[in-house]
């Protein structure tokens, strides 16, 4: 009798906590717009599941909202990308409840950070390629050519004051979850390096720009 009631309790709990369960729907309805978990029902039943800096995201178009578990549950768990998505999700969650958070992301190589000392005027193009690797763009002109190297960095900081949504569920004060304010400032900048070569493929000048400053060598 005890065993059967335990199984029944576990079954009821799994249904209540599933993607279309009562607790899930209550979570989505009450704190879904501000929850670091996002809208669980949409993420559970929707397709094209992925994780962004804002948390888990999925498309709901044409999917049944009463599905208990994701249609592609094993693929989501089993693929290596899931671990990266999980790490991003954990980071997004920690960011959402942190009073102050900074984040810095770099895309592309590091060639564009500054002009290497070896790149002096007259250096052949082969030296530049050996030092910096292949460029993002290499344009051949009538009187020479130029190369462009590019690296993008995304920096952001956020300020949060108030009761985090998960903690607000535990505080028995009506409307306490509303006592919060978030300010997010992000800046995406590209560090670029441009090399000019003459018709004999010898370096003529190099110009780099990073943030507001630019440097030149010729």
């Amino acid at each position: 009798m005890i065993r059967s009631s335990g199984v029944g309790f576990l079954l009821a709990a799994s249904i209540a906590l599933s993607g279309c369960g009562l607790i899930t729907l209550m979570h989505d309805s009450v704190i879904g717009p501000v929850s670091p978990l996002g809208r669980i029902n949409t993420v559970t039943v929707g397709g094209d599941f992925h994780v962004t800096e804002e948390g888990p995201v999925a498309e709901l178009a044409g999917d049944s909202r009463l599905r208990m578990y994701p249609r592609d549950l094993f693929r989501r768990i089993g693929t290596p990308a899931s671990y990266w998505a999980a790490a991003q999700g954990i980071e997004a969650f920690l960011t959402s409840i942190s009073p102050v958070a900074t984040r810095e992301t770099h895309f592309g190589g590091t060639a564009a950070e500054k002009i290497p000392a070896e790149l002096q005027p007259g250096v052949p193009v082969g030296v530049a390629l050996a030092l910096l690797g292949p460029p993002d763009v290499w344009v051949r002109r009538e009187n020479g050519s130029f190369m462009l190297y590019r690296e993008v960095s995304d920096r952001s900081w956020s300020f949060y004051i108030g009761v985090p949504p998960p903690a607000a569920l535990l505080v028995p004060i009506p409307g306490i979850a509303n006592a919060r304010f978030r300010l997010v400032s992000a800046r995406e900048r590209a560090s670029k390096l441009m090399l000019f070569f003459d018709e004999h493929d010898a370096l003529v000048a190099a110009t780099a720009s990073a943030d507001d400053a630019s440097s030149q060598r010729e």
Partner: protein, 129 residues
């Protein structure tokens, strides 16, 4: 006492608010004076002024440099009380672009620059259109 009251009022006024601003690219070209002459200004002059471009496009007889700066703002107010949620979100996205065209001799043919994106809080909050 007044400071405490003011802090409490501000906290109450800002309850449930989110203000998110993102700036993309280097917007020097939107404010710096441009004095380029078609047929005289070269690629090097442009790069010396504003650094390497964000995008390069080329075809027969034309070389295009594109500089971009974007400003995105998202403001939202989300209030919940038991099972009721009040949500209001407003977004704003403004682009600034400079396009410079050169001929086969890397001389300026023409250029165009857009207006500087407005940076006003009232507009970000949807109080002014």
């Amino acid at each position: 006492m007044r400071r405490v009251a003011a802090a409490l009022l501000c906290s109450l006024a800002l309850s449930g608010c989110l203000y998110q601003i993102k700036q993309v690219g280097d917007d020097r070209f939107l404010t710096a004076p441009i004095d380029w002459q078609p047929g005289k200004t070269t690629v090097r002059d442009v790069v010396d002024a504003f650094g390497p471009p964000d995008v390069i496009r080329w075809s027969a007889g034309r070389l295009l440099f594109v500089y971009r700066a974007e400003r995105q703002v998202v403001t939202s107010l989300v209030l919940s009380f038991y099972l009721k949620v009040f949500s209001n979100e407003a977004g704003r996205h403004e682009d600034g672009t400079l396009i410079v065209a050169f001929d086969d001799r890397d001389r300026l043919v023409y250029y165009g620059v857009s207006e500087h994106p407005r940076e006003d809080l009232a507009g970000d909050l949807g109080l002014r259109r």
